[in-house]
Structures are given as structure tokens and as C-alpha cells.
Symmetry: C2
Subunit: 539 residues, 2 copies
């Protein structure tokens, strides 16, 4: 094959260099550990990025080697992102909210040679360090290195006080990794994904094409930089030339509204609980000014319709749902409206805005049944969502669990979805929670929502449990309203006609509460463990 076009690799440093050249005065704002504001520009930040790149050279950390971070969303974390990406090193963002065991596993498994730590993580790091002999340097983003026993402790600002890396950024293979992100791992050890230059580049461009950002925007990533690269926004911001506002460790509703109002944020991204807290704060403080903000992206778990509705009606802010995973580097869909929908009434628009949305250009998706057969995209059939594209993972880092998830060039997402005729993806269940009854699937979430709509029911959860004939059958755990009770026949009458008869749960168990995870989700693993043999004597 002759070259035809230049064999010019897709490198993040090309996007970065252009941004520094064209937007040297664009701002980077960050909240310091003491709550004060740090103000800088792309040009000044570039000097610091180059100093950090020079320092990594002097530490002897080479191309392809890994540095970890245990850090909040700050300008220093941003500098680490770019000093590694531009030089072919790997930035390994570690979720500082994980258990000590998982943090130790992740740092060890990633082969991190240095770890950049936030001041509030020093004590945790001191406990971890003896079990992490591979970490030669603990670099303190704030706080005093003399006050710690950490081996190789050095202050970040001292580290970057020496001469900067000069000249062009190196030519790299576009398929080389620049970042490791590990899944939070509800079962077993976390699994790592290596984001490549090409995959992050394509994610940044394609995301902006569908959900626009421009140099006049001011983007505030609330989703942590240790959580799937803050959904890629530090890379998108540089690509578009946006102002960036990093909230540091203060993720309180008041702190975020202060930044929105004071810095004139136009776009932001975070999980639903963040925006619910901001909603409640704004309801109590109607005088606060959020007029600068056009829309924000919300994802990580299902976005409540009532919240989308409130932001639009009360504040004129459009909530955009995004869906993705660590394995999709990380966003795959946005709930943008199709153009003809823009004339529809709001309630009808909401039916689509509240879905996971439409694929970003460049990706492909399908839903499949248990045998891998493709299902129709008619809004009725549901099956496991499979995706593929330039920013979809092909493997977990040094992990045999790759074989379960990456199959025949597709990523098995573990989400059970419908796809509407309009192309909108609606997540109906987790694959491990869907109930496999005689080769057919029953949606646990559909049943739960129906049962919870009964006036006598406070809360309900449905899980599949072992069944000798049907493999699995649904049972429902039901919490009646305080002081009340609800009979099985009432629930059967309530459900009949709304679902196929074979979907009706085999048993209703009255309980005083539903087991929940630390983040407040129904803990179906606990329920399955507890009720797994509940139907073992049924024919």
C-alpha cells in the first residue's frame, strides 16, 4: 500500500501544542487545598508541564513507564496528564476512594514507579508504602515532605523548579498508551484499561463533534480525574481551547455554585448525586446566578427525569445524559435530541433526554441475546449491549478476564438495553441482574418499577434465583409502607396484564428493608446470596 497521505500519527501533543500556540492566554483556574483560587493560563501551564517533563527525565522514568496519581481535580493533576501524554509516559490515575487493599493492588499491578499524592492522602500512603517497594518516589502535590516518612518524598513544586524540557514533543506510536484507568471492581480485583494516544484523541474529537465545545466555553469537570479521566474533559477542553475550572477537593454544592457564578462556567460534567445536591442548594438559594451555564453532562448512573425537568424549567439548563464505561475511554453516547425533536413539547423531549442517548460518531453498537444473536432495535427487545470503535478497549492490562469481556472485536458492556427505532439506547438492567428464565430474559428493573408503583409498596427489589426447571425465576422483596401490609394477590392483580404471565414473580417476600451498597444502590449480590435457594424445593 503506497502512503498516499502522510503517515502522521494521532498524538495528543499535536492538539496540545496547537492550543498553547493559539490560546496562550486562555485560563486554567483551580481551587487550592486551602480553598483559595489558583489562576493560570495555557501558556504558563505549558511552562510547568515542560518543567515536569524535564523532572521525570531526571528521575529516570522513561517512555512507556508509569506514574500514579492519588489526587483531586486540580491544575497540578492537569499538568501530570499532559506531561505524561506529551512524552509517551503513562499517567495512572488511582481512585482514592477505593479500599486500601484495592489501592495497593492497583499501584502494584500498574507497576507505578512514582506516585503523585494529594496532601490529604499522605497518611494513607504511609500505610501503603511498605507493601509497595516498586514505588521509588512519593511526590507531594501539597503538604510538607519533611513531615512524612514516605520513601523518596519530594514536594511537587520543588520537583518542577529545575529546567524545563525544551523543543518538540517526541514522535510516538499512536497506539502507545498514555493513561491507565482501573474499574472500581465490585467483585474481584479491579481491572485496568490502557488508554492510547489514538483512542483518547478520537474520543476528544468525536465527542466535541456531537456535543459541541468551543474556545468561548468554560468547562468545569466535577467528575473526578481519577474516574475515567474526568470523562475525557481535560483532553476535550484543550482540543477546543476552552477555559478550564478545576474544583479541587471541594465538591459541595455551595463550592460548585461559587465557581459557576464566579468563573462563569458554561459546561460541566458530574454524577447525578452531585447535580441533585446542587439542585437542592439552588432551591434554597434562588438568588444564586447560574445564567452562564448552558448545559451539563450527567452520567455514571441513571439520571432522574425529575432532575432534568427541574434544571430546564427553573434554570434553563439542559442536562445531557452520557453513557459509557472505563472500557470506552469513557463516553459512548450523549442524549442529544434529533433535530425534528426540537419542536416537540418538553414532556415528549424528556422521554428521549432521559435515555442513555445516541451513539457518538465513530462507534457501532448492537444488542444480543444469550446466544449472541443480534436483536431488533425496536424499543421492545432487550439484550446485552455490545459496542466497538476506535476508543473501545481490546483488553484488560495483564488480566485473563479479558476473554470474558472482549469477544470477537466487540466489548460486552454488561448492560442490558433496548434501542428505540430512533436510535436511543435505554439501559434496562445489568446483565448479571437480568433474570434468565427458560432461555428468555426478564428485566428485574421493569418489574421493580411496576411493583413500586403500587400504592401500598414503599420499596421493592426483584432478583433471579435458582430454579430446577427454568434455570432462574424472579422473586420480589417488598417493603410495605410503615404500619401497612400488602398481600401477594394484590401484587399479582396489579402486575397481570402489564407484563407477560411468565414474568410474574414466583414469590413475594415481605422485608423491612432492601439490602443496599455503600453508594445506596440495591445490592443484588447480597440478595442473591441470601435468597439463592429460596425456590430450590419448587417444581
Amino acid at each position: 500500500m503506497p502512503p498516499h497521505m502522510l503517515d502522521f500519527p494521532l498524538l495528543l501533543s499535536t492538539l496540545y501544542e496547537r492550543a498553547v500556540r493559539i490560546y496562550p492566554h486562555q485560563e486554567v483556574v483551580s481551587v487550592n487545598a486551602d480553598g483559595s483560587l489558583y489562576r493560570s493560563t495555557y501558556g504558563e501551564t505549558d511552562d510547568r508541564v515542560r518543567r515536569l517533563a524535564g523532572a521525570l527525565d531526571r528521575l529516570g522514568i522513561g517512555r512507556g513507564e508509569v506514574v500514579g496519581t492519588l489526587a483531586w481535580n486540580t491544575h497540578r493533576h492537569h499538568e501530570i496528564y499532559w506531561a505524561t501524554a506529551n512524552t509517551g509516559r503513562i499517567c495512572h490515575t488511582v481512585n482514592l476512594r477505593l479500599s486500601a487493599d484495592h489501592i495497593r493492588y492497583i499501584i502494584d499491578h500498574g507497576r507505578d514507579r512514582a506516585v503523585f499524592i494529594s496532601g490529604d492522602m499522605v497518611e494513607a500512603a504511609e500505610r501503603l508504602a511498605p507493601d509497595l517497594p516498586g514505588v521509588e518516589y512519593w511526590i507531594m502535590l501539597d503538604g510538607d515532605p519533611d513531615a512524612t516518612s514516605l520513601p523518596g518524598a519530594v514536594a511537587y513544586e520543588d520537583l518542577i523548579s529545575d529546567p524545563a524540557y525544551a523543543g518538540s514533543w517526541p514522535e510516538l506510536d499512536e497506539r502507545s498508551p498514555h493513561m491507565y484507568c482501573y474499574t472500581s471492581g465490585t467483585t474481584g480485583n479491579p481491572k485496568g484499561v490502557a488508554y492510547t494516544q489514538r483512542s483518547t484523541y478520537m474520543h476528544a474529537l468525536s465527542g466535541i463533534v456531537f456535543c459541541p465545545l468551543a474556545a468561548r466555553d468554560n468547562i468545569m469537570p466535577v467528575v473526578p480525574m481519577f474516574h475515567a479521566a474526568a470523562w475525557g474533559h481535560p483532553f476535550m477542553a484543550i482540543t477546543a481551547g476552552c477555559k478550564i475550572t478545576y474544583p479541587g477537593h471541594d465538591l459541595s454544592a455551595e463550592g460548585l455554585v461559587n465557581l459557576i457564578e464566579g468563573e462563569r462556567v458554561t459546561f460541566s460534567a458530574g454524577v447525578p448525586t452531585v447535580w441533585l445536591a446542587v439542585q437542592h442548594y439552588l432551591e434554597a438559594h434562588p438568588e444564586r446566578d447560574t445564567s452562564s451555564i448552558r448545559s451539563f453532562m450527567c452520567g455514571g448512573s441513571a439520571v432522574p427525569r425529575a432532575m432534568i425537568d427541574w434544571y430546564w424549567r427553573a434554570r434553563g439548563i439542559r442536562v445531557i445524559q452520557g453513557w459509557g464505561m472505563t472500557e470506552t475511554n469513557p463516553v459512548a453516547t450523549f442524549s442529544m435530541l434529533r433535530p425534528e425533536m426540537e419542536d416537540w413539547d418538553w414532556e415528549r423531549q424528556l422521554d428521549f433526554i432521559e435515555t442513555a442517548g445516541l451513539l457518538i460518531p465513530g462507534l457501532r453498537a448492537k444488542i444480543v441475546d444469550d446466544e449472541g444473536r443480534e436483536l431488533p432495535q425496536d424499543g421492545e427487545a432487550f439484550g446485552e449491549l455490545l459496542v466497538q470503535g476506535p476508543w473501545v478497549a481490546a483488553e484488560y492490562i495483564r488480566d485473563p478476564r479479558t476473554a470474558e469481556t472482549m469477544v470477537d472485536g466487540w466489548l460486552r458492556t454488561g448492560d442490558v438495553c433496548k434501542i428505540t427505532p430512533e436510535g436511543y439506547i435505554r439501559v434496562t438492567d445489568r446483565a448479571k441482574d437480568v433474570i434468565k428464565s427458560g432461555g428468555e430474559w426478564i428485566s428485574s428493573i421493569d418489574l421493580e418499577n411496576l411493583i413500586m408503583a403500587h400504592p401500598k409498596v414503599a420499596e421493592a427489589a426483584v432478583v433471579g434465583v435458582e430454579h430446577s426447571r427454568w434455570q432462574e425465576r424472579p422473586i420480589a422483596l417488598v417493603v410495605p409502607h410503615p404500619g401497612g401490609e400488602v398481600r401477594d394477590e394484590e401484587l399479582v392483580d396489579h402486575l397481570r396484564g402489564k407484563v407477560a404471565d411468565w414474568w410474574l414473580p414466583d414469590a413475594y417476600v415481605a422485608v423491612s428493608e432492601i439490602p443496599k451498597t455503600s453508594t445506596g444502590k440495591f445490592d443484588k449480590k447480597v440478595m442473591r446470596d441470601r435468597y439463592g435457594s429460596f425456590l430450590s424445593d419448587r417444581p
Copy 2:
């Protein structure tokens, strides 16, 4: 290198498939040869694209083989673009305004096995056909195949009446070509560039990131589809999901305004002469409604400041200058404002809007002197512009002239430019027109503009001619206003102090008119031929 991320190629068919899936009702409108409107949708167009793909299979034109087009901007040309790109064939768009010799050369050199021709090109094709034995099929986009002697003549609509290509589009190498475009070739034979799947894909995404298009847009490409793929807009439109309005062969100002008004066009693209004609038409018809149009892109030659000013003041339309070449597939810059400039007064903004603009994300550029030394980007130094990036050509098709233009991973653009401290590229000359005097460069265009600012001068052109001591020296051809005259000393006084003394022309030649090309540009080649030895006796 382990894979990390899926090795998923960047194929145009991925963007296309998504657009058909998500926006099946989006419109494709086209002006027929008889002036009537053809109305269709992405969904209906997909059926026709698949029928054409099936027909190409039946004609025995295989993957990697070439079909030519001699056609205007219509829905059928759009179908050929996509049926070839989606199946790994090559669409070779031939500029139907070239001389018969060049058209014959291009079709022969491209090895076109079939040519799709517009009805008004049948006579020309009949004259060419005997010299093009490699063309087995002449496919008539309109008109009657029985009325022509062309070998293998078939009507397009008959060709696509048989069963469609079904199923997924094939997996291709992202570096395989899908389009040939030949430069118009002012000297020698035209040179061909092969656009690849990857290069067009990256151009479409990156262009939209910088100069946004969205599904609510309606884009009207006026620049011909045989001229560097209508500057990529058919690919950008599909990527963003825009409505597309093709003007057919009626490029009159009134015809274009009819489409803008009737179809509610929001974005368009064309050369300055088109928009000047539309301006004059709108000045005479102030009642015509252009309120739907937000901005249009203008390029191909320098865009007059007065025209940009008129559109903004009279119609609220923002003209965006784009710069590029066939060799840059084809757009490299847009004259977008930096965010802080949006608060400036209009005249100051105009100083930047009238430049070639800022690089699109993903490209790199530099200016160099005669010895290839990089020059500062200070808005003063000028040198030849070199560019590189994922959509920059690495070679001409089967053409030894590659070696002159593609050097060390950079494309020599042949344009002499300044780059301002803000990053804006200002084209000051063509490299072949810049005057090389004693190893230093003199801008012919700067001198011309200064001389034409003299009140007694109607028109002036400056060329470099041979000089025994300085290699080249400038001489000025000056057309005085009718009935007037202008003395050399008056011009010298006028120029002195405005340029360095060594820039002053060695001679001023009064002429009645400046030689011009068929497109109205100063024909410096003719001038150099005519006046080449004008200074041969000077010391």
C-alpha cells in the same frame, strides 16, 4: 505492542451508517437539470447508494478500482461519493471546466474504468472517448443513452434499478484511497492526490470541531464537488447529520438565493466570485430573505475585506475564510476569532477574519526561508508555508513531481505567508511570484497593493525579472487612470518609507492593461515571459 484498544479502522462507512440509522428522515435536496427540485432523505438515499454499490459489483469494478465523474453538485454525485467510499472503490472527480486535453489526461492517468457524466458533458465525452479506450462504461446521470455513440452508454437510473448491495459495508484498510482529486495544473499536466478513508475521516471530524456543524444545520455546498470534494462538505454533512442542499448546475446568484430562502440554508461554502455575485444581487433585491444563514465559508483565493464587511453589516452573515489545497484534502485553516476577540470592535476583528485564519486541530505548520530554515511567527517575517498532518498528502499519484513538493514529512504549499503572534496565517504571495533579490525575499503583492493605493494608479502588477547581480529584481507594470499619467518619481516618493529601499522596483513600465488569466487573476507567468530580460543590461 499489545493492542490495548480495538484496532478499529477509521472508515467513512462507520460515519455513514450511523447517520442513516439516527437521521433517516434528514433531507437531501438537489436541483435537477430542468431546474425542478429533487427531495429525498438519508434513508431513501441509502437505498440508492446500495443499489449503485450493487451495480458496480455487477459491472465488475472491484475494490481499489476507479470510476470518474464529470458532474455538478447533485444528489447523484453524492450517491457516487458514498457508494465508492463505503465499498473501497475510488471516486475520481474530474474538473469539467478543464481543457479537453487535461480531462483526457486525468481520466487516462487515473485509470478510470467507468465515467459518470452530466447530460451537458455528453458531446465533450463523445470527442474524448476514442482516446480513452480504458473507459468501458459511460454512465449518463441525465439524458438519453440511445441518443449517443458513447461506448457502454447506460442511464444512471437504469443502472441502479436492480437489486441493492445488502448487509454491512466491508472492512477496509483505513489507509486505502476512496477519492482521486487532480490539481488544475497551471503548468504541465495536472497532478493527482489520493484521499484516503483515514484522511477524509480526520478532516471531517477536525473541521467540525473548529467550525461547528450540527444536525440542525442545512449546508449548501456551492464549491463544486469536482473541486477538492466540495471542500469535504459532503463528508462533514453526513458526520454531523445535516440537511444537504445541492445547487446542481445553476450557480447564478438568483438561483442560490432561491435555495437559501426556500430551503432555509444555514451554512454554505464557495469561492469569492460566487459571494460577490450574491452580494450584488442582494443589494438589488433587499427584500430577499437570508435570515436562515448563519455563516458561509469562502476560499480558493483572497477574500475581499469589503465583502466580509458588507455581509456582516447588511445581513448579519459571518464570512469565514478557509485556506487549503487539493493536497490538504482540502481545508487546513478557518479564520475563526479567538474568544477574547469577540468583544473587540468590528474593524479590529476584520483584521483577523480577512486572514487565512488559524490551523484546524491536528495540523502543524511552519514558515521557512529559501534554505528551509524556520522563520519566527511574528507577523513580519514571511516565508513558504509548510504543513503536515493526518489529511496532508504524502505523494502525487504515479508522478515524479512528488519529490519537489513533499519533503521530509512536510508539504511545501507554494504559498508565501506570515504567521502573526496570535497564530493567524496571512498569505502574502505565491512562492513562484515572490521576488528573490540577493538571497532576500520581496513580496510582489505587498508592492502591488502599495502602488495601487496611489491615487493616479488604476491597476499595477509587480514581477521579479532576471538581474545579473541580484539574481532577481522587481519591476512594476502600471496602468494609469484613463487619460492620466503617472511619473516614476511620484511612485518612488509614494513608496519610500513604506518599504525598505532595496524593495523599490528597478523600473516602472506604463501599460494599458495587465495580462490576466481566464479566471481574472494577474498572469505573472506571461509577464515574466514578456519582461524577463527587461533588466538584462542593468548592472
